[in-house]
């Protein structure tokens, strides 16, 4: 996080960013009156660069770059304590999710590893119908460029029977995969339509067909 010095709030305010966040999240940002209950309830305030209430404040002020480049939005675990306790019924966790998607679209992701983990997690589900940890973790570690991280834990976890050598065969595996295929086909179609219409600007989720939500 860069320390914010004097902020020229008129010049740096991106009104389009505010309305885009509101539209995508379905939340009315100006409802936030900065009571701080989200920050008080958040399990990760201690590792965030901006506490949640400041993320909300930065969105209110249209500070697109600071928000989308923040680490906080990626460290959020979507536990929804903020959403549960917001006195103004704002779905704060959903706003954080919206910001993550926007941060990918704008290529401003501050926590590449976390983004990668999301990707590998979904890939695993697509392939096996549910997460196959024994495949997911080495894949993630390799792609993240730190193949030896947490390797020492493997024998202990294996001994406790927490990791399987083969993926579990679950019912409806094909149906789960079909969800992914449907989504990808839908995304392709939309990108094609947009290309024909002369719009190359990616819209939400388009550049990331694996973002299934």
């Amino acid at each position: 996080m860069e320390r914010i010095h004097t902020l020229a709030i008129q010049q740096t305010c991106d009104i389009g960013f505010i309305s885009k966040v509101e539209e995508a999240s379905g939340q009315h940002i100006s409802k936030c009156y900065q009571c701080g209950n989200c920050t008080a309830s958040c399990a990760y305030t201690h590792v965030y660069d901006y506490p949640v209430n400041q993320i909300m404040r930065l969105v209110q002020l249209g500070q697109k770059k600071a928000v989308l480049q923040s680490r906080s939005i990626w460290l959020c675990a979507t536990c929804q304590a903020c959403t549960t306790r917001c006195p103004n019924n704002l779905d704060v966790a959903r706003i954080m999710e919206t910001l993550r998607i926007m941060s990918r679209q704008e290529n401003m992701v501050a926590e590449r590893d976390i983004e990668l983990f999301y990707h590998e997690f979904l890939e695993s589900i697509k392939a096996f119908g549910r997460v196959f940890e024994t495949g997911l973790l080495p894949m993630f570690s390799l792609k993240a460029g730190k193949p030896f991280t947490d390797m020492d834990l493997a024998p202990r976890v294996l001994k406790k029977g927490k990791l399987a050598f083969l993926p579990q065969r679950i019912k409806g595996r094909k149906q789960v995969a079909a969800i992914f295929h449907r989504f990808e086909a839908h995304q392709l179609k939309r990108t094609e339509e947009l290309r024909q219409a002369g719009l190359t600007q990616p819209v939400e989720g388009d550049s990331h067909p694996d973002e299934c939500e």
Partner: protein, 652 residues
Amino acid sequence: MRIGVFVCQCGTNIASTVETEAVAREALQHPDVVYATSYMYTCSEPGQQQIQRAIQEENLQGVVVAACSPRMHEPTFRRAVEKAGLNRFMFEMANIREHVSWISNDRQANTRKAAELVHMAVAKLRFNHPLSPSRVAINKRVLVIGGGVAGIQAALDCAEGGLEVVLVERQPSIGGKMAKLDKTFPTIDCSSCILGPKMVDVAQKENIRLYACSEVESVAGYIGNFSVQIRRKATCVDWNLCTGCGLCMEKCPAKKVPDHFNEDLGNTRAIGIPFPQAIPKKATIDKEHCRQFTRGKCGVCKKICPVGAIDYEMEDEFISEDFGAIIVATGFDLFDHSSYGEYGGGRFPDVISGLQYERILSASGPFGGHIQRPSDGRQPRNIVFIACVGSRDASVDRPYCSGVCCMYIAKQAILTRDHLPDSNCYVFYMDIRSPGKNYDEFVRRAQEEYGVNYIRGRVGKIYPKNNHLIVQGADTLLGAQVEVEADLVVLATGVEASAGARELAEKLRISYDQYGFYMESHPKLRPVETNTAGVYLAGVCQGPKDIPSSVAQGSAAAAKVQALFSRDTIETSPQVALVNERACVACGKCIQVCPFGAIQWKELRGGIQKAEVLPSVCQGCGLCNATCPPKAVQLQHCTDNQILAEIDVLCA
């Protein structure tokens, strides 16, 4: 008929989206309209003079003003035309502000609608007849509902002016919430020391009759002549005999009765006087806990009472009284914090409400004024106050500010530091609202002189750990999460409409807002009146407010009653139903539908029955008019002919 039309521009309120000149020009086309004009502010002195001049010069017989809502200025214009010699009912108003200019920006459509509303008013006016009000005597007795500080003030001020007052209180004693407070902000004077003398005055004033343990059962009638039924709840103690000696309370064997006066922090007996300064100082039996009622045998109090006042067989008693005016001062209830699961939802005994802490601080409270924890009686060292619990919180349907909590927690923190100099006080707040006289200075003093730690942020959760309560909150000024290890947590619980407020409003036919607070007639200019003539408001029943404002409103309501009673008679509206006897077929349907009992049978010669309206009881609702099969009952000034004329021009 010669009719004049006056189209008001209301500054730019109407003129900005309505072509007022065009509306006036078009009005001249309608039959009988001989004069039409548009003016900047028709309600102003020159505007009214313009109407009066036109009546004289153009020989007008009827006037239409197209302006704001008739609720705003109909009385103004009626007076104006009356001064110029017309009957006040030869006037009609078209609402082209609230119904037109304020709700749309489409200039063309607005002008069209305004012109049509004027056309309708003209069409109706052509069927208007001069009507004259009758007068009825005013019963110069006043009913005050609620014996909190607002009701007490209203009752005392009315009694001071020589009026006969009846004060009805639901609880066994008057005093309301203020009687439970220890000290009051911002002067830290003792609440019962300043309220006590007023309560005694109520008891001693000869022209105040106090009905404690009583509720209003039903209300009938209208301004000047209300008739009210009051339910005197069975106290099982004959108050004419009871001397308030307290022997019964001492000997009662039911010792585990929650003490509601002490906000359930301690126990009391099943018979007794709620607090030492109670007015009236009479005992009441709590039937829910009395062994005579729960187990069918005991009778200790009956045996011990030196004057034989105990009567287990006592039943609720109903009395009827007549009044000319009613002051409603029913106060409020405290928000129930059990809906805040993150603060323990009422499960942690050391997380208490603001009013519970008042009782702890009070010398007559459950702990004799020593600050201790309800759970183990230990003296707390770290005390946390949390603002806005049940206020400014849309998630619990309380989006409004309760207005008093910022001040009362500042006071409680000061008192805490005063009682326990070694203690630490922390106040979690969002904003500090201290707009009263010497209020902000008081909050500053809490911080500067008493060292109370104010933390800007809300509390996310409270959880118990090793006999402490961990308060996890945010300091938004710091941008960090903060944690306080507290021994006692005081929630600044907010204010909500009192239980039963809606039911009482329906009996009184007054309106209330979505949270149950009673609606004043105008938020700025008629803050004490309701939309039901003769019913006035005082105190928190109208909206959250502090003691000085409640007292001021109590006095204001009393002043309104005095003004009303300074006359001997009151005009009744001639806009009432009237029966055309020749058309009446005596089916009796109007008698059945009338909600006010204003229609009765009348016997003509030869035993022929006809319906008859009592004009002083009729409220002009028009139900009978709509029901009557041969249309024999007609609501004056809103007859079928008048309404049909309006519809005709609209559909033409």
